[in-house]
C-alpha cells in the first residue's frame, strides 16, 4: 500500500467512523479528559479513549510505581519502579496515537480537591478511578454545577462499578436499533401523493405488479380500506383493522398465466410490514416534553437552539416532525424505488432547510451567531423523532446508600440460592461498607495481614451501621422512642439477612485486589460511555452500573 493512503488519518479511524460517522469522530477529536488516578483502571479507560482519538488527556496522581503495579498495569514496566506513576503511564499511553496529546501531574487528587476544582471546567469529562468516597463527593459537587460530566469507576476484586454524574445530557442520535419507519401513510406529502395517484395496480402487467414497492401497495390498500368505511380519512387503528389491510393486500395479488402461482416477494414484504408501517405519525411523549422544555429554555447550546426551531416547525407543519427521508429497502424495479427514495430524500432536505431557517431566527433571538451548520441540522432532523434528554442526579453517597438498602430490602431471595449468587445491589452496598471501613480504619478489609475472618466481622458491623442509618431516617416520624428502637430492629433484621456472611467474607477476600481483567472490563465500559457523552450519540448508562465477575452479569440502576 502506498504511504499516502496508509497514513491518511481518516483511514486509522475507518472502522469506528463507520459507527459514529465523521461528525462523531470530530466531536471525539475535541474531547479532553482528566483522569484522577493512574492505576490499571485509569490507564485501561484512557487506552480506549486515546485509541479512539480524543484531543488530549490529563493524568493526576501522586503515586509512585511499586512492584504490585507491574502485576496489573500494562502501561508500566520493570524499570519504572519508584518513578511517578502518572508520568510513567503518560509516556506509554501517548505512544498509542500520535495525534493525541497528554499531560501528567504528580499532585494527589486529594490536594487537587483542596484547590480550585472549578479550573477543571476546561475538560470535557473528568474520570475518578478508584478514588475514595470523599474525593468523589468533592469533585462531583463542583463538576455537577459547572456541568462537566463526572465518571466514577471502581475495580475491586471481582466487582466493578461505574457511576455517571451529569446534570443534563442531550442525545441527538440514539442509534436505536430497528426504529419504526417514517412512511407518512396517514399524511403523504405532495410529491409522494403524486406518485400514488399515478399508480394504478389494475393497469399493470403481472410483472410490473410484482415489482411494485410495497409502500405503494400500502397506499392503495388504504384507499380500499377508506372506501369500505366510506370515510376518506379513516386509518387502521386496531390490530383487526391492520388485518383487514392485509386481506386487501392479498386481494391485489395476481397469478401469472405461466406459473399460476400468486407468490411474490413484494406482497410478502407488504404483508409483513403492515403492523409496523400502519402507525399514525405522532410525536412521542418524551420528544413532546423536550419541545415544551425548549420553548421555556434560553439555552444557547446547539441542541436546545435547534429544539426550539423544531418546536416552531412542528407548530406550522400540522404537528408533524421533519421527514426522516430514508425509505426502507424493498423489492422493486430500479426506477420506481429510486424515484420514491428521491422524493423522500428531497422532502427531508426541504424540511431540514425550514428547520435551519427557524434555527437562524432562534439564534438571533438568543444573541448567538450561526451556531448550527446545514449538516448538523439535516442530521438532527433525520433523527428528530428519537432525540432524548437525560436528567442526572448529584452523586450523594448517603442518599444512594439508602437506595441500595431499599433495593436489598425488597429482594426476595430463595433460601437455597442465597449462598450461590449475590445481587448487584448487595455488592453495591458492600462497596459502600468497604468505603466506610477504609475511612474509619485507614486501610481496606483483608489487608495488612489481618485474618479475613476478623475483618469480616468488622465489615459486617459497618454493613449494619449503613443499614441502620438508612432505615433510621425513613422512620423518623414514629413518636415513641421505645417502639422506634423496636421497629428499627425489626426492619434491619431482614435486610441484614439478605447480605450473606459469604458475600461479606468475599469482599474481605479481595483485600483491595485490583485485577487487571476487571479493570480492563470496567475501563472498556467507561470509555465507551465517555464516547457517548462526547458525541451526543447512543444512550449512556443512567446512572449506575455494577459488574459481577463471578457470574459475568451486570445491572444498571438509577440512583
Amino acid at each position: 500500500m502506498p504511504p499516502s493512503a496508509s497514513f491518511d488519518p481518516s483511514y486509522r479511524y475507518d472502522r469506528q467512523v463507520r459507527l459514529w460517522g465523521e461528525e462523531g469522530q470530530a466531536s471525539i477529536g475535541t474531547t479532553s479528559a482528566c483522569v484522577l488516578g493512574s492505576d490499571s483502571l485509569a490507564t485501561e479507560t484512557l487506552k480506549s479513549l486515546v485509541l479512539a482519538g480524543v484531543h488530549s488527556f490529563f493524568v493526576v496522581d501522586d503515586a509512585r510505581v511499586e512492584h504490585a503495579d507491574l502485576g496489573q498495569n500494562f502501561f508500566l514496566q520493570s524499570d519504572d519502579i519508584g518513578r511517578s506513576r502518572a508520568e510513567a503511564t503518560l509516556e506509554k499511553l501517548t505512544e498509542l496515537n500520535p495525534s493525541v496529546s497528554g499531560r501528567a501531574s504528580c499532585q494527589s487528587p486529594t490536594a487537587l480537591a483542596q484547590e480550585d476544582v472549578e479550573k477543571l471546567a476546561t475538560f470535557s469529562v473528568v474520570v475518578s478511578a478508584n478514588q475514595s468516597e470523599s474525593i468523589d463527593t468533592k469533585f462531583a459537587e463542583v463538576l455537577y454545577n459547572i456541568r462537566v460530566p463526572f465518571v466514577c469507576i471502581k475495580s475491586y476484586g471481582l466487582i466493578g462499578t461505574m457511576r455517571i454524574c451529569i446534570k443534563e445530557h442531550t442525545i441527538a442520535n440514539s442509534h436505536e436499533e430497528n426504529p419504526r419507519p417514517d412512511l407518512r401513510l396517514d399524511a403523504p406529502f405532495k410529491t409522494l401523493s403524486e406518485i400514488i395517484n399515478e399508480t394504478d395496480l389494475n393497469e399493470m402487467t403481472v410483472e410490473q405488479l410484482r415489482h411494485t414497492p410495497y409502500i405503494l401497495l400500502h397506499f392503495k390498500a388504504l384507499d380500499v380500506f377508506r372506501k369500505h368505511r366510506n370515510n376518506e380519512n379513516a386509518f387502521p387503528e386496531t390490530t383487526n383493522d391492520r388485518k383487514e389491510i392485509q386481506q386487501i393486500l392479498q386481494s391485489f395479488r395476481r397469478s401469472t398465466e405461466h406459473s399460476g402461482t400468486k407468490d411474490s416477494e413484494n406482497f410478502d414484504e407488504a404483508k409483513a410490514a403492515v403492523m409496523r408501517a400502519f402507525q399514525k405519525t405522532t410525536i412521542g411523549a418524551s420528544v413532546q416534553s423536550i419541545l415544551s422544555a425548549a420553548e421555556s429554555s434560553d439555552s444557547t447550546q446547539p441542541f436546545w437552539l435547534i429544539c426550539e426551531a423544531l418546536r416552531r416547525f412542528v407548530k406550522f407543519n400540522n404537528g408533524l416532525l421533519p421527514l426522516r427521508g430514508t425509505l426502507p429497502d424493498m423489492t422493486s424495479d430500479s426506477n420506481r424505488y429510486t424515484r420514491l427514495a428521491s422524493v423522500f430524500h428531497e422532502k427531508a432536505l426541504l424540511d431540514a432547510q425550514e428547520v435551519l431557517r427557524l434555527t437562524r431566527e432562534v439564534e438571533k433571538e438568543r444573541g448567538v451567531g450561526d451556531v448550527i451548520s446545514d449538516d448538523v441540522c439535516y442530521r438532527f432532523c433525520k433523527n428528530a423523532d428519537r432525540i432524548r434528554v437525560q436528567h442526572g442526579a448529584l452523586l450523594d453517597y448517603t442518599r444512594e446508600t439508602k437506595e441500595c438498602v431499599r433495593k436489598v430490602k425488597e429482594m426476595s431471595i430463595e433460601e437455597q440460592s442465597r449462598e450461590e449468587k449475590v445481587d448487584s445491589a448487595t455488592w453495591l452496598l458492600l462497596m459502600r461498607a468497604v468505603g466506610r471501613f477504609r475511612k474509619e480504619k485507614g486501610r481496606f478489609p483483608g489487608t495488612n495481614g489481618v485474618p479475613v475472618s476478623i475483618d469480616a466481622q468488622d465489615l459486617k458491623k459497618r454493613v449494619e451501621v449503613l443499614i441502620r442509618e438508612s432505615v433510621q431516617v425513613s422512620s423518623r416520624f414514629t413518636d415513641s422512642p421505645i417502639s422506634l428502637i423496636f421497629q428499627e430492629e425489626e426492619e434491619i433484621k431482614p435486610i441484614l439477612h439478605n447480605v450473606t456472611d459469604s458475600a461479606i467474607a468475599e469482599m474481605c477476600r479481595f483485600g483491595a485486589a485490583e485485577l487487571h481483567v476487571i479493570s480492563s472490563y470496567v475501563g472498556g465500559i467507561a470509555s465507551q460511555e465517555i464516547i457517548k457523552l462526547a458525541t451526543n450519540q447512543y444512550v449512556p448508562i443512567d446512572n449506575t452500573f455494577v459488574f459481577d465477575g463471578h457470574s459475568q452479569e451486570s445491572s444498571t440502576f438509577k440512583l
Binding site: 459507527l19 485509541l51 430500479s334 495481614g449 479475613v452 479481595f510 465507551q528
Partner: protein, 430 residues
Amino acid sequence: MVSVDPLASERWRSIRRLTDRDSAYKVPWFTPGPENFESLQNSKVLVIGAGGLGCELLKNLALSGFRTIDVIDMDTIDVSNLNRQFLFRESDVGKSKAEVAAAFVQQRVSGCNVTPHNCRIEDKGPDFYRRFSMIICGLDSIPARRWINGMLCDLVLENPDGTPDFSTIIPMIDGGTEGFKGNARVIYPKMSACIDCTIDLYPPQVNFPLCTIAHTPRLPEHCIEYIKVVVWPEEKPFNGASLDADDPSHVDWVLERALHRAEKYNIRGVDRRLTSGVLKRIIPAVASTNAVIAASCALEALKLATNIAKPIDNYLNFTQIHGAYTSVVSMSKDENCHVCNGGRLPIEVSSTYTLESLINRLVDRYHLKNPTLETAHRKLYCISLLLPQLEEESKTNLNLFLKDMVTDGDEILVSDEVLARAITLRIQFV
C-alpha cells in the same frame, strides 16, 4: 496491633489474594494456597488471532500471571487496525501481527514468554494443539472457529466405556465482536455445546441475488456488487489480476464504475468508504467493545486455570448501544451435532428426495458454501474449478431421485470449505 501484609511487595499481590484465600463462590474442588497461582503460571495457553481481541487477550493473560503464551495469526498489520490493536504502531504496518504482538507483550511484561506463529491455524496439526491447557480465540471468521472447534473435539479421546477421557479435553474460550456488540463463551469439547452445536447463532452471510444487482439495482451496495461480480471478471483490469480489496487502485477502479452505474439508476450513497466496506465485508470495530469481550474471555481463562470462581455456563451476550447490557445463557449440546459425533451421523430422508433437496437441507443445516457429495463409488455433486468435467454431471444429478443413486444404509461423504472435517451421513429412507 502491628500486622504485616505478607504480600505487600509482591508483584502478583492482587491475584494471589484470590488464589490464596478461600471463598464461598469457588469451584468446589478449589483449595486455597500458593500452588494455585503456581499452576496458573505453569500452564500453557494458546491465543488464536492477534487482532482487536487478540491484542487485548495477550495483555490480559500476561497480566493475569500466565507465563507461557503462544499466539497464532497469519495477518499483517494495516493502518485501519491501529484504532484498537494497541500493540501496533504506524512503523509496524506490513509486519506480522503475531510477531509484533508477541515481541511487544514479552518486552513490556517481564517474565512472560510469548511465542508467535505467523501462519494459518490449519498449518498446525494435533501435536501442536495438544500441548496447550486451554485455547482462547479472538477470531473474526466463522470457518476458522469451526476448524479449531473440530480440531479440539477430535483431540478428545474416549475411555473404554465410551465416556470422554477428561485429561484430553482442552477447553476453548471464544470471543467475538461487531461494533458495540459482542459475545464470549466457554466450550468443553464433546462435553458442552460446541461451535457447530449452535451454528445457527451465526447469521448466514447476506448475498444479494444476482438478478437484483444485474437488472433491478436500488441500493448503492447493489451497484458495487455488480462491478465486483460481473464487470471485473468481464473486463479483467490490471492485467487480469483478481480483485484485491486492500489495493487502493482496485478499490478506485470499482468505485468509479459503481458511481457511474449508480448515476445511471439514480441511486445515492456510493462512496469510497461504502465501496471498500462492501468489497472487504468490513465489520465495524471499536477499542472499547474489544476490551470488554477480551476481559470477559481472560477472566474465564483465569477461573479455569485457578478455580477461584465458577466459570460461566456458558454463553455471554453483550451490547453497549443503549446503556450496557449483558446476559449469560446456557446453550445446550446438540445430540445430532456432526462434530461432537465424530463426523458420522445417520440422516433420515424421504423417498421423494432429489439430490437437490438433500443439498439444500445440508446447506441450511450446516451453513455450507459449496458442498461436494460423494459415495464410496462416485462423486454425486462437485462444482469446482479444478474438476470442470464433473460440473455438467453434477447439475444433471440435482434433479435425480436420491433413491435411484444410493440404497438404504449407504454412506454419503459431505465436504465443504467451511467444514473442518467431512461429514459422513448414513442414509435411512423413511
